[in-house]
Symmetry: C2
Subunit: 81 residues, 2 copies
């Protein structure tokens, strides 16, 4: 079973990496870029668990390791084959 996890900084949390990317884009003459936020995209492959249980496990993984719940939020998406 495959899941995609998107980890992003919460609104309002400063994103220095996004700022650096935006500055780099500006110096490459992409002046139309107004804002950039950088997050993580994690593809997980799990050994067969029932779907409900698998999703709950992935949620637990996010809370314990993949995201920092103080400053980040996450979204889980099941990938259907």
């Amino acid at each position: 079973m495959r899941f995609n996890v998107y980890v992003t900084l919460k609104r309002g949390v400063l994103d220095p990496q996004g700022k650096a990317v935006m500055d780099a884009l500006h110096s490459l003459h992409f002046g139309e870029v107004r804002d950039v936020r950088v997050g993580k995209f994690i593809e997980l492959n799990l050994d067969g668990l029932p779907e409900q249980e698998a999703r709950a496990r992935v949620e637990k993984m996010c809370q314990e390791l993949l995201a920092n719940p103080v400053i980040e939020e996450f979204r889980i998406e099941e990938v259907r084959a």
Copy 2:
């Protein structure tokens, strides 16, 4: 106009970060995890260009800065308000 960009390692390219995350998940007793790949998720906000042109510009940004085309591939998704 908002775009999401997903940058991932090409199939076959070794992902040491993904491997490290998988090992960490295993030691946290998530033994069901068989594979992990870690990529980047970039949210871009552009000042008003026509949609076609904006997408072409984002593609150029990916080729020039956001992704390393030798080892990475990218996917662009427009976010409709």
